[in-house]
């Protein structure tokens, strides 16, 4: 456990004068003799989006679970606001201003939007046995907060399960922002979404960033990460294989690094051999380029 601070700054990344919101230095996690994560270093600053990229099994989930307080790291140091910390429960992380929006367990589908929005932090009025939910205020706040994030909801009384995947993610993001999150961890928010819905979510990520939050955006899609990210941490098989400032890397390099350039080339050859639908492939690529350009507009 080192307490060195300057030495840990990654290649090309410059730390601000103030302590970063969250800082990981050589963090690792072992489950018995299985090493899920090792020597990961990254920083999350206010108003910056740090993207964590990696394929399945790269250790992305383990990483966010450590920051979110679901798991504890076994090596290295985790500093929150400059202080060394180990979270023992999600509640602790929440209290420290770190909110996590999980891909699949962000909300309770059968409950109305407003109940989900305030779940765990409900507003009440009255005292003692007559303490009751302040339903009117919660509904108003939910509506206002969502409108503030640019989410226009038909009816906050509808079960959240009736919303589209993108809308649900956005409600969860708005919830985290409302409850004073300083750091927002988004676990593959675009993984299950279509092109348009992904764009919507990416726009909210930028909105959260503009509000001064530090965002950790976990994804396996470099096309989603590149337009919104300020820094990129690449993970592979539990290790960091690169940590870049945006100015130091291009989308193509990012994609190549992630997939492992050689493997990708091989795949391209394989596909060509299979059918050689090159014109179709070009169409698909053009579509992808268009989709990633849209959220920035």
């Amino acid at each position: 456990m080192t307490t060195v601070s300057t030495q840990n700054t990654p290649t090309g990344a410059t730390t601000d004068t103030a302590a970063p919101l969250v800082e990981l230095a050589d963090v690792g996690k072992r489950y018995g003799n299985i090493i899920a994560l090792r020597e990961v270093t990254m920083t999350v600053d206010a108003g910056k989006v740090t993207c964590v990229l990696g394929d399945n099994g790269a250790g992305k989930s383990t990483l966010i679970k450590i920051i979110a307080g679901l798991h504890q790291h076994t090596d290295g140091t985790l500093r929150v606001g400059g202080e060394e910390t180990t979270f023992t429960s999600p509640r602790q992380a929440l209290d420290a201003g770190i909110a996590t929006v999980y891909q699949d367990l962000a909300v309770v589908p059968l409950m109305p939007v407003w109940r989900n929005f305030f779940l765990g932090s409900e507003l009440t009025t009255g005292f003692g046995p007559f303490k009751r939910l302040d339903v009117a205020r919660m509904k108003e706040t939910t509506k206002a907060e969502l409108a503030d994030m640019g989410i226009d909801l038909r009816d906050v009384d509808q079960p959240i399960g009736t919303l589209s995947g993108g809308e649900r993610q956005c409600v969860a993001i708005a919830r985290a922002v409302h409850f004073g999150a300083k750091v927002l961890i988004l676990d593959e928010p675009t993984a299950a979404l279509g092109v348009k819905q992904s764009g919507v979510v990416l726009r909210y990520i930028l909105q959260a960033k503009e509000r001064g939050l530090g965002v950790v955006f976990i994804t396996h899609n470099p096309h989603h990460a590149y337009p919104v990210g300020d820094r990129f941490l690449l993970l592979k098989r539990g290790r960091s294989i690169g940590y870049y400032e945006k100015k130091d890397i291009l989308l193509g390099d990012l994609t190549a690094q992630m997939a492992g350039g050689a493997e990708l080339e091989e795949l391209t050859h394989e596909l060509e051999q299979l059918g050689g639908h090159t014109s179709q492939m070009q169409q698909v690529q053009a579509g992808m380029a268009e989709s990633q350009a849209r959220p920035r507009a």
Partner: protein
Amino acid sequence: MTSTRTPAAAPAPDRGSSGAPSTPTAAAPADERIQTKGLLGTFLARPEIGALVGAIVVALFFAVAAPSITQAQSISTVLYGASTIGIMVVGVSLLMIGGEFDLSTGVAVITSALAASMFSWFFAVNVWVGVGIALLTSLAIGLINGWLLMRTKLPSFIVTLSTFLMLTGLNLALTRLIGGSVSSPSISTMDGFASAKAIFASSVTIAGVNVRITVFYWIALVAVATFILLKTRIGNWIFAVGGDENAARAVGVPVAKTKIGLFMGVGLCGWLLGMHNLFAFDSVQSGEGVGNEFLYIIGAVIGGCLLTGGFGSAIGGALGALIFGIASRGIVYAEWNPDWFKFFLGLMLLLATIVNMYVRKRVERK
């Protein structure tokens, strides 16, 4: 019924591709995308709907088949029958909304009654002491059920099936060991019996009709449970732990405490019913109660509580218990063979579950 509209299947015309939130300007109060739900839509999405329709159908059916059931005194008898089930259904409904169920309830009621009578009799103390011991016993059973569940992470089916069997055995064995018989000794001559009987097993005459006190307890419990469910933080947590335990935990809901509390709530209801069973007479048969747990679960399921949790209401459970009361007495008033009752109950359960499934699909539809 001052309830917020629970999951209402709002017709959402532009869901999907164009349904993305985009322009904040359209947040005007009259949103063109909200169709007026209409009474029918709101009505159909309530968890109680299956039970309400069922109760009306069953009531009409027996009003025709056995006209004497519509007399005031008969209605009071029906309500009494419903209340002896309904008191437990309140606790079981909340538990089921919280995503768990309890097979030990039937015998736990008897355990509570036995604890009160045996303790008072053995130590020759005022029966109110026994009543207090019974309350602690019932709450402890709930605590143990809940704690075991959270600790072992086994399904509640297994955990409560174990406690069901253990309690069945304990009821028989301890009663014989202490009292030397299969029923608890009579406590009718002991101190405090009269006052306890007045509290737990008396009846009130209203406009010439004799109404058993359990009916009032039942109604009060339903009202309190409805308030808790819809208007308190704990109610919000109950829906959440039943709907998605992991999501609830992730936003800081105390899942274990909520679930253990629900099991203890079932214990509290069991204590109340146990005391009624004891003081309505003066002793309890130690082998009773087996099978009643299913009646409570059936009441909750007919009442619209999802077996998988996260959806339901206390009022629905009360309607489920009412259907039970009407059917069980109606068959007697119609002078039919009571053998038909179980068949009837099974049919009701099947129909109610189908209706509820349909409702949930509407609600969950994306």
